[in-house]
């Protein structure tokens, strides 16, 4: 998989995770989705895709 394809998939995954986080009313799922969002954010920075400083700042 190329660098660009990897990034595209991570961005797509992060968007879905955020959607699920907003939609869920289950605390356990909300927190799990927060952490998944954070790991997507980390993975994007690790691949040089710098959008914002933190997932919190991006997401709220």
């Amino acid at each position: 998989m190329t660098h660009a394809e990897t990034l595209e998939r991570i961005r797509d995954l992060q968007a879905r995770v955020r959607e699920l986080r907003r939609a869920s009313d289950n605390p356990a799922i909300e927190r799990t989705m927060q952490l998944l969002d954070l790991y997507c954010h980390m993975a994007r920075w690790e691949l040089g895709d710098v959008e914002a400083m933190t997932p919190e700042a991006e997401g709220r």
Binding site: L47, V50, M53, T54, P55, E56, A57
Partner: protein, 458 residues
């Protein structure tokens, strides 16, 4: 079955994308990250908004690396302490809601008030990841187990090492709540592969092992990772640790307020800047970047301090930086010899810069001296002068102390070129430490210590 796919586990680098990135691309990426963190800090941290406003600079004016170097001011610990004092513990240095806090740490306050350090979950994960670069470089993988021979207290350093082990996916064994003898027995029982400690404590455990009649070189420990003070990049200290433990010794250089900034090079002669999560400059006393190959003060910006951003932070550590390849094939900046000293420990004897790490290395060359020593620095009308107190090894007869004294003074004079007095002490006469050792005692007036000139950007 393994946690990582075999072809991934065999990779030399934890993140080959950035660890092998050409310098020009790395610098372009740094600029983007710096702009992001500056905008974040200006928008959220009253301390940074005030600092930039006072210096008449706005985040959008930082368009180039030259702007960053020349226009943006340094920040020192005192300014953060002042900002925290407005509304303790974090005051105006804080940039996020406490809802996002994961851990709260503080420095020891040994040189003044403790500096408080808030870590969000995001920061804690990435402080941990910064450790993984040295674990991975040392050949450590998820199947290895890591022994932590200390209590988990308010100090950040080894907590982040623990987060790193979690991030790697390896096993943690805690020696918390035990004394040194019980920890050594635990090592015999659980057979960990890796021990994390300060160089001082790694060597101190050798004394404890002798009391128990235990040979540390025969334990399961194959890797010792040291941090918290210089040592891992000082060849003689590293060799002493490696011989004692029958293990390979690697270093991580970190800074309490910033985290694990510099994982050790796998070739073990120095450390790299973790350019994934940090940017650094090395500057002279006037605040100007020194050319590669020269020594200066390490100025660091963190990309992962969203609770309390630190940009162009003065570490007061003296390092030599270089873009020359070290041989391990990463493109990240390399600091041969790790931390060479502190700006406030800079000694100039008859015009010659004398680094405490160099003296430590030379003392280790003298057969019959132990690893325990102290440097006492004072000043007469024109010059700094240094006296070294060095302990003899327990197996050396007191009648040989005169020879040790002459040998130590001769080796220092032959390498550094100036005379430094060495007083040989009996074994056990200098204090012992479980974490960082206090080895440097400065009796000089403050005006004669190294300090950055007061100027814009300094």
């Amino acid at each position: 079955m393994r946690l990582y796919k075999p072809e991934v586990e065999a990779q030399r680098f934890w993140n080959p994308y950035t660890q092998t990135m050409p310098r020009a691309d790395l610098d372009r990426l740094h600029l983007k990250k710096l702009q992001t963190v500056i905008a974040y800090a200006y928008a959220r941290s009253p301390m940074y908004r005030n600092l930039l406003d006072r210096n008449r600079v706005r985040p959008e004016q930082i368009r180039t690396m030259d702007d960053f170097v020349k226009r943006l001011p340094f920040i020192d610990k005192k300014e953060i302490l002042d900002a925290q004092a407005v509304n303790p513990p974090f005051g105006e240095a804080l940039a996020t809601s406490e809802d996002f806090f994961h851990q709260r740490f503080a420095t020891s306050g040994s040189t003044g008030a403790p500096l408080h350090i808030p870590l969000t979950y995001h920061s804690a994960e990435l402080w941990g990841e910064s450790w993984v670069y040295v674990y991975w470089a040392a050949g450590l993988r998820a199947r290895h187990s890591f022994y932590f021979p200390f209590n988990f207290g308010i100090f950040a350093a080894f907590w982040s090492a623990y987060m790193g082990v979690r991030r790697l996916g390896a096993t943690v064994i805690s020696g918390g709540g035990l004394d040194s003898k019980a920890r050594l027995r635990q090592i015999e029982q659980y057979r960990p592969d890796v021990m994390l400690a300060t160089p001082t404590y790694a060597l101190y455990l050798g004394e404890t092992a002798r009391e128990l009649g235990m040979d540390l070189a025969r334990t399961s420990i194959s890797h010792v990772i040291v941090a918290g003070e210089p040592g891992g990049s000082i060849p003689a200290t590293r060799q002493a640790i490696e011989e004692l433990w029958g293990a390979r010794c690697y270093e991580l250089y970190g800074i309490a307020e910033l985290g694990p900034t510099n994982p050790g090079c796998p070739l073990r002669e120095g450390v790299h800047l973790c350019e994934e999560w940090y940017h650094a400059l090395v500057v002279d006393e006037a605040g100007n970047p020194v050319v590669y190959g020269e020594v200066g003060e390490h100025i660091v910006t963190s990309y992962i301090q969203d609770g309390q951003p630190l940009i162009k932070y003065r570490t007061h550590d003296l390092v030599r930086w270089t873009d020359e390849p070290c041989g391990c094939e990463t493109t990240w900046l390399y600091y041969p010899g790790g931390v060479l000293g502190r700006t406030d420990h800079m000694i100039i004897v008859k015009g010659v810069n004398v680094y405490p790490s160099a003296l430590e290395s030379l003392l280790h060359r003298v057969s019959g001296l132990s690893e325990h020593y102290e440097l006492h620095v004072d000043r007469d009308a024109t010059n700094d002068f240094v006296t070294v107190k060095a302990e003899a090894r327990p197996d050396v007869d007191e009648s040989r102390y005169g020879d040790l004294h002459r040998d130590a003074e001769a080796v220092i004079r032959s390498v550094i070129g100036v005379s430094i007095g060495v007083a040989v002490q009996k074994p056990g006469s200098l204090p012992r430490y479980e974490l960082k050792a206090k080895r440097f005692f400065d009796h000089r007036p403050a005006a004669h210590r190294w300090q950055l000139a007061e100027r814009p950007g300094a």
